[in-house]
């Protein structure tokens, strides 16, 4: 009955620790260090690391960049809303913006090519959730995140918004095509 009574010894710091605890602490510490070093290891040897390249921006700055790409590389329009489908050249800078409640525009990429994807929000915070790949990133207004992506499987992908952004949140759905 001592967990809620003062320790039995005035100087409890010097009471020797049992072997069982010492062994467990040693094992646990090794595991903690392994987990810690996995992260820098993956930065060097892994292929999925989030870029830390980002810039402060504004909707007035970011919007025109997106529009310039759309004007130059639109190949067709889809749906009643005439959402542009943009097929920029492999290796180029590509843009997607989040706004209430759209991911804009639709991108058409080539499999195995690397692109510099710029993401930002025009209004509130949004969540870029590429499905069914399940890559998820926070999209914050005022900040432009730039990351290199290499789509490695052809197909049609959804971009779900997974940061709550108001009543129309569930209608905020974008698309990325990856061609062979």
């Amino acid at each position: 009955m001592t967990s809620y009574l003062p320790p039995a010894q005035r100087i409890w710091w010097k009471v020797p620790v049992g072997r069982q605890e010492i062994v467990w602490i040693a094992i646990a510490l090794v595991w903690c260090l392994i987990m810690f070093f996995m992260m820098p290891y993956w930065h060097v040897y892994g292929k999925q690391n989030l870029s830390t390249e980002a810039y402060k921006t504004t909707p007035a700055q970011f919007g025109p960049k997106v529009q310039a790409m759309i004007d130059q590389y639109t190949v067709r329009h889809e749906t009643e809303q005439q959402i542009p489908v943009v097929a920029p050249p492999a290796g180029s800078d590509i843009y997607m913006l989040g706004r209430l409640w759209q991911w804009w525009p639709i991108l058409e990429l080539e499999k195995g090519k690397t692109y510099r994807l710029h993401l930002s929000s025009m209004d509130w915070q949004h969540g870029f959730s590429l499905q069914p790949v399940n890559i998820n990133m926070q999209v914050v207004p005022g900040y432009e995140m730039v990351l290199n992506i290499t789509p490695d499987v052809a197909g049609e992908y959804g971009v779900v918004c997974n940061e709550y952004c108001g009543i129309g949140h569930h209608t905020m759905l974008g698309r990325i095509y990856v061609k062979e």
């Binding site: 009574l5 595991w31 709550y164």
Partner: protein
């Protein structure tokens, strides 16, 4: 005279002021839990795709209130009661500054009501996180600020009581381990509340038009210093209660004061850094900051949790073996009081918190792995394992203990109480496992409609994702029923349970002290624990626990690397 009463059942001394404050805080906590549980039902039945109960606006309103009531109000009211218990009651000391404590309580109540009213008026469905620039009504932030100030006062009443106890020599030697754990929780609470003030005060001023702009990235960093640390208070509080319940029910004593207190010190130093778990996929933050903070500086707070994971059940095993349950590896466990709801609550809480909550938390808090988990419904799966089972079920278990001891009522419906922790644990575990599965399949959290009705484009989740969300809904309903049973038993006991002492009538359940003649005790100085044999044996004192701990570690390692494997299969990013 006499401000203390001796509880004849537990041998605990209660200061009159502290006793009343513990009661009112516990009752406010229970009311918050009731609201949170009712809202949970609406949320769960909406996310169950085949039911899809609420319209979108109500769903987001319910979800906002569920988060605030369950994650802040229920838990922090209860924790203030725990702080007063761990200081005044366990140290046999009068409570410091009782008037301030009452003021703190009043502010917390006013704050909780203000924020709830703001949410239910409908213009503050901003989720608990209230990420700017989405704006809630000013009273939403104001209520949270008032609540936080009240809780801060509670923390300083706790520290003040520690000082009085030391100055007045109400105990011999060092403070008990449970009080030390509560102090750790209070320290983390001070950081939590200060961070909350730093971010919520400007946000409130922004909502009434005094400030033009709040930077959303800065908001996220500082808000999470509050939002995540507030859940770390829970971890520390429920670990302390695990030690308390082990001592009260089984006579367990710490395997080593040094090891357990050192583990709490690691919490003080490093636990709060994990607020970075929420910032891992934000733009522009360096990998160095992310790795250092998300790993609690080399996982030293995880080390602390792994230590408690061994020493809490280990101390119970040692105590059981001393009682003669010594056969084989696990007789001590089989012969544990599984029919006592306090014990079963704590036992289930330890297992689910460790095996699911702890492991998922570390995995999703790994810098790169967070990419495949951030903002999916895996995240609420994780924190239901930590907060709803780890903390909430532990608090439920302690409440069963407090009904006779603190409120002096006999518990009603003992058979229902016996089964309640199992039903709650089972329902929650179903909810958690299937939300984890659905999250792995990409299903989003905080999302009204996984069919995307009304969207210009379309996307279909796999059939399995729908099945999993449905089963999760069933688990949630079971857990809500069990939560209802808990409230029925506890509130029913306070209202109609047999009175165990000279009573001040029904009002004693809501903070009024017992009849004056109950307060006739003058506590003696709290003695040191009886020195039994020296610890530090060369053999393994708790071999069964060691096997269970190794099982935990193996599950941890396997699950950790499964997630790296899964990460390696997604599109390359750099």
């Amino acid at each position: 005279m006499g401000n203390f009463r001796l509880c004849p059942d537990s041998g605990l001394f209660f200061d009159k002021n502290a006793e009343s404050l513990m009661k009112v805080n516990a009752v406010a906590a229970a009311v918050s839990l009731l609201v949170a549980g009712l809202l949970a039902l609406g949320v769960a039945l909406t996310r169950w795709p085949a039911v899809h109960l609420l319209p979108a606006d109500q769903f987001y309103m319910y979800l906002t209130a569920h988060g605030v009531d369950a994650l802040l109000f229920w838990i922090i009211f209860f924790e203030i009661a725990v702080l007063y218990f761990a200081s005044s009651t366990l140290l046999r000391c009068r409570l410091a500054a009782p008037r301030w404590a009452w003021l703190g309580f009043a502010l917390m109540v006013i704050g909780a009501i203000t924020t709830n009213v703001a949410i239910f008026q409908g213009n503050s469905s901003v989720m608990m996180t209230s990420y700017v620039p989405m704006q809630a009504a000013p009273s939403f932030y104001l209520g949270l600020i008032l609540f936080a100030v009240g809780a801060l006062i509670g923390c300083f009443v706790f520290f003040g009581t520690l000082v009085i106890a030391k100055n007045e020599n109400t105990y011999e030697g060092s403070i008990p381990l449970v009080t030390f754990g509560a102090m750790t929780a209070a320290i983390i609470a001070v950081f939590t509340i200060a961070s909350g003030a730093i971010i919520l005060v400007p946000t409130y001023l922004w909502s009434i038009g005094y400030i033009a702009h709040i930077d959303p990235s800065m908001y996220r960093i500082i808000w999470w210093a509050m939002g995540h640390s507030s859940q770390q208070i829970n971890v520390v509080a429920h670990v302390s209660i695990w030690y308390l319940v082990g001592g009260l029910l089984l006579g367990a004593r710490p395997m080593s004061e040094k090891v357990s207190r050192f583990a709490f010190l690691l919490y003080i130093l490093f636990l709060q850094l994990a607020s970075a778990h929420h910032i891992l996929v934000d733009p522009g933050i360096s990998a160095e900051w992310k790795i250092f903070n998300t790993s609690y500086a080399m996982y030293l707070a995880v080390l602390a949790s792994l230590i408690h994971g061994l020493t809490v059940p280990g101390s119970m095993e040692v105590a059981q073996r001393e009682k003669g349950y010594n056969r084989g590896m696990f007789e001590w466990l089989r012969k544990a009081p599984w029919g006592n709801p306090t014990f079963s609550s704590v036992a289930i809480s330890i297992v689910i918190f460790g095996f699911i909550g702890g492991i998922t938390g570390v995995v999703m808090g790994t810098e790169q792995i967070n990419l495949i988990i951030h903002n999916t419904i895996y995240v609420p799966a994780h924190f239901h394992a930590t907060v709803a089972v780890g903390t909430t079920l532990t608090f439920m278990g302690l409440t069963y203990l407090l009904i006779p001891v603190l409120f002096r009522r006999q518990m009603i419906l003992p058979t229902l109480a016996k089964w309640q922790p199992y039903l709650f644990g089972a329902g929650m575990t179903i909810l958690i496992l299937f939300m984890m599965g659905a999250g792995t399949l990409g299903v989003s959290r905080r999302h009204w409609d996984m069919d995307f009705t009304g969207a210009a484009l379309s996307f279909e989740y796999s059939g399995m994702a729908y099945t999993m969300m449905g089963i999760a809904g069933i688990g949630a309903v079971l857990a809500v029923i069990a939560g209802g049973a808990f409230l029925l038993i506890t509130v029913g006991s306070l209202l109609v349970g047999k009175k165990l002492d000279a009573s001040a009538g029904l009002l004693q359940s809501f903070g009024v002290p017992l009849a004056p003649e109950a307060y006739n005790a003058e506590p003696e100085i709290l003695p040191m624990a009886a020195a039994v044999e020296e610890h530090g044996s060369a053999g393994f004192e708790a071999p069964g626990t060691f096997i269970l701990a190794m099982l935990l570690l193996v599950s941890f390692v396997v699950y950790y690397f499964i997630n790296w494997k899964y990460l390696s299969s997604v599109w390359p990013l750099s």
